[in-house]
């Protein structure tokens, strides 16, 4: 049995729209989503009445005690279809982590199965008023009883433990991570839609920032935002009649279930071992390997994920990512650098989850990146942790 995706290169991205990314949008999230959906459909050269599939991943990713309300703090596939006045043949939401790869996989499967011909895939991110992760819980039941009573709570400590494990094991310096932040913010500063547009970060600013949960400081975390992205997908055959050059989905992988652990406990060895299994399946699914990828867009919602993806994707040896980035290995302005954050990532755009990675793959491979246009053929868009997320391989050509 081959691990190659049966529909490899048979489904394509054919259009997109992206809202501005801001701390708090003036319009409700649902309204912003409707606007980007209409613009994306027009961008693809289609009419709304041609859209017969809607896919999203509706997770509202805060540890705080915020209400989840469709159209306000999240936007489901059915909410968008209803409010566009469309009765789709297929509408579904991806429930796991690794939301963009998961949603792309659902859209590809729906189109390949003939469940829908033209799918709108959106991701709507919301920054609620008040503290994003602060939680007033008075008691801890269920799985939280094993962690919250001792003060282990929220994603900062979650990422601090495996990052410190990495630092201690491999001798990684804070200067190395400064290179990651400088690269993400340099590229984000060039994007008109980014929250960080025109605002690069210097290594000195990064190094001067106090810790929140050692070795994690504020700059290691993407900033919560309101923002929406929408993509349109269809079959490669239908894509040939549409205005933009198609970008094909070559393969995808969602991370295998990790070892049972305490809530939010992500030991480094879990990340690396399960992550390597994720990327092995990714290359099998797509029919390419790491040496063929010229646009690897790594997830960076927390900065250490850049190291973990560099190593699990096989772009540098295990334990070497910190030296790799310090030696200019990810400088997208250098001919010998890998452009892993050329799209700014989450650190350079705001908390858009896997959107910046997918958008950069689309823009570059469709030849729509404008002044930032690079020469690239095969892209990878990663999301979340290698052991707890997923990734998609995109291609400018069918193969």
């Amino acid at each position: 049995m081959s691990g190659r995706l049966g529909a490899s290169n048979q489904v394509a991205l054919v259009g997109y729209a992206h809202s501005v990314v801001q701390r708090h949008a003036a319009a409700p999230l649902g309204v912003v989503t409707l606007d980007t959906a209409r613009r994306a459909i027009a961008d693809a050269g289609l009419r709304t009445d041609q859209i017969d599939g809607f896919v999203t991943a509706p997770l509202f990713p805060t540890a705080g005690a915020h209400a989840v309300e469709d159209g306000v703090s999240t936007v489901s596939a059915t909410w968008l279809a209803d409010n566009l006045g469309v009765r789709p043949r297929y509408a579904a939401g991806f429930q796991g982590i690794g939301q963009m790869p998961g949603a792309v996989a659902m859209a590809v499967n729906a189109i390949a199965a003939g469940a829908a011909d033209y799918v709108v895939l959106h991701r709507a991110m919301h920054n609620p008023p008040g503290r994003y992760h602060g939680n007033p819980m008075a008691s801890a039941g269920g799985s939280l009883q094993w962690t919250a009573p001792q003060g282990y709570f929220g994603p900062l400590s979650m990422i601090a433990l495996p990052y410190n494990e990495y630092i201690q094991r491999y001798g990684a310096s804070r200067e190395a991570m400064a290179a990651v932040l400088v690269e993400a913010r340099k590229n984000g500063a060039r994007l008109p839609w980014s929250y960080w547009h025109g605002r690069p970060l210097s290594a000195e600013e990064y190094l001067a920032e106090p810790m929140i949960s050692d070795p994690i400081c504020r700059y290691d975390c993407d900033i919560p935002v309101d923002g929406v992205a929408t993509f349109v997908l269809t079959s490669a055959r239908r894509a040939a009649d549409l205005p933009h050059r198609p970008v094909y989905v070559s393969g995808y992988a969602t991370s295998a279930p990790a070892t049972r652990r305490l809530p939010l406990h992500w030991p480094l060895d879990d990340i690396m071992s399960v992550g390597q299994e994720t990327t092995r399946r990714l290359w099998e699914s797509a029919g390419v390997g790491p040496t063929e990828v010229d646009l690897p867009q790594l997830y960076d919602g927390f900065s250490p994920f850049v190291y973990f993806w560099l190593e699990t994707l096989g772009l540098c040896p295990p334990g070497e990512a910190h030296r790799f980035v310090l030696d200019g290995g990810i400088d997208s302005d250098s001919p010998k650098g890998l452009p892993v954050l050329s799209g700014g990532g989450a650190l350079g755009n705001g908390r858009m989850h896997g959107v910046p990675q997918m958008l950069e793959c689309y823009l570059q491979l469709a030849g729509r990146a404008g002044d930032r246009q690079r020469t690239a053929t095969i892209g990878v868009a990663c999301q979340s942790s290698p052991h707890f997320g997923g990734a998609v391989v995109y291609s400018a050509e069918q193969f």
Binding site: R131, A140, S143, W146, A148, Q150, L161, I216, L262, P267
Partner: protein, 141 residues
């Protein structure tokens, strides 16, 4: 009076764990089928995949080694505002490879730590009849 920390809510499975903690004894769930320690215990055993693991809580040595740590400097939960900065350690218990739990290190935020440091369980009495497992550096006294 300061805001209390979140207290654990014992359930059908975890009740013996918290009852033992109140007596300052660390117990860990053990699968009746394959004898593996499991933390946290769930519906199934992650080692032998039994759907009827009949977990029994058994006392463990309370010793282990530090696999990682973080210094928490900003509280996201009530009751910890006065505690910051504090150290959380990721500990591999002596009894079984990769049997890991997370607890506060009670030696203070300036404690010098290295991977592999030995720690021993200690308990914080946070409310009448409620004690939370934590750790201190070194071997048992």
């Amino acid at each position: 009076m300061s805001t209390p920390r979140p207290l654990p809510v014992p359930d059908e499975v975890s009740r013996p764990y918290w009852a033992a903690a109140a007596r300052h004894t660390l117990v860990v769930a053990r699968c009746s089928r394959c004898a593996s320690f499991v933390l946290p215990p769930g519906q199934t055993c992650p080692h032998c995949h039994s759907v009827d693991p009949r977990f029994r809580f058994e006392p463990v040595s309370g010793t282990g080694t530090v696999r990682s740590w973080t210094v928490v400097r900003q509280a996201f939960l009530p009751g910890f505002g006065a505690e910051v900065p504090f150290v959380l350690v990721d500990v591999e218990l002596t009894e079984q490879s990769e049997l890991r739990m997370i607890g506060r290190l009670l030696d203070g935020p300036a404690a010098a730590l290295r991977l592999g440091d030995r720690v021993t369980v200690a308990f914080e009495d946070v409310a009448p009849g409620v004690s939370i497992p934590a750790f201190t550096l070194g071997a048992p006294v």
